[in-house]
Symmetry: C2
Subunit: 220 residues, 2 copies
């Protein structure tokens, strides 16, 4: 086969297949050939034409999946003139969180930290980035500036809350038995956050309940 008129479609197909496989089987558990086998007719040549390594495929696949969510969250924060405290609450409101959970739910990563170790590492790293470069820390600092938040250690609080929210509250890499236990985690997290000056809002419990429902809905 010669040149294709719409290479973006090929790229999209590759990334779709890759994302699903990486989630289901982990990074090491997914071979390039596995991906190729899902791209009927296509061969490794196509893959290595568009991406220079497995690593790059992995990153591209997840960046692409996350992009609209990140964008959306950024948009909800930019609009309107809210105080920092209000923005903080909105960060943990259902409208900000649920879309991301739906993405994860579609992928349904293996509930085994070792098998999902690379995804886990990404979420781990991402938690720090989220607090530093992302939304959380800026929002907190905004709240401190406008007087709506009283937090003595904004950076530390942001990191801790991000980590707990991403790796503990969300049952991505470990099974979580009951909705009640998830709600207990949420309440616990809210209390701990409050102790360092961060009011995540009453909606957190509601958000968590929705997360549970999305995560465990029928069809999985």
């Amino acid at each position: 086969m010669g040149r294709n008129k719409y290479p973006e479609e090929t790229v999209a197909k590759i990334l779709d297949a890759a994302l699903e496989l990486f989630c289901a089987q982990g990074y090491e558990g997914t071979s390039i050939q596995d991906i190729v086998d899902r791209l009927d007719g296509m061969t490794k040549g196509a893959v290595y034409h568009h991406f220079k390594s497995k690593e790059e495929i992995f990153n591209a696949a997840f960046d692409r999946a996350m992009a609209p969510i990140v964008e959306r969250r950024r948009a909800t924060l930019g609009a309107g003139n809210m105080t920092g405290a209000q923005k903080l609450k909105r960060l943990y409101a259902p409208e900000s969180v649920v879309p991301q959970i739906e993405l994860w739910a579609r992928m349904h990563p293996a509930a085994d930290p070792v098998k999902s170790s690379r995804l886990l590492a990404m979420q781990y790293q991402g938690s720090f980035d989220e607090s530093a470069d992302g939304c959380l820390l800026p929002v907190i600092e905004e709240g401190i500036a406008d007087g709506s938040i009283a937090c003595k250690c904004p950076r530390e609080a942001a990191e801790a809350v991000s980590l707990l929210a991403n790796l503990w509250l969300l049952p991505l890499f470990r099974p979580l038995e009951t909705k009640d236990r998830m709600l207990a985690r949420a309440q616990c997290l809210a209390q701990m956050a409050a102790a360092v000056g961060l009011d995540l809002g009453n909606e957190v419990l509601q958000t968590t309940a929705q997360i549970w429902d999305v995560w465990n809905r029928a069809g999985w």
Copy 2:
């Protein structure tokens, strides 16, 4: 070469080499051949005679390294008739924590979450085990039973504190710039723990300072 009189020495050599390499280069970054090359004269046959897979070597290496530390910690808790609250504080006292840090410091894992993703996953998993089967949750429940601790969500509190202590306070997989920032994390963690009824004690700051010194001492 035929049969060796002291095969345990061979096993020990393999595990020593493996532990160092796994820490420095990560799991995927370390090949069996890398390990073999450090065992002068020995070959892959020896390795696969004593261990049936790379995975098993990895687990054995870390189990062996952790064993004395776990044992020691268990011992300090068993002895004496302390209240749960006192035991909790002791769990985060220098004498309980520093030996573990010294082990980690000797290994000096790569400060890159992705490269160290398998170790990260182990620590992650370990944080839950620590709270469930390990020391933390039992100690908290003991404290609740004897009235020295007032905690409404012992399991959740234990998990959250474990996670933060293992993956955030300890700068295993991410560089941490200054001692002050590490102390800030410790203080933040202590505040958050206090909010859910866990008093980690005043020694936490002291412990943290010692951890920093051990971790960043000259010679590294």
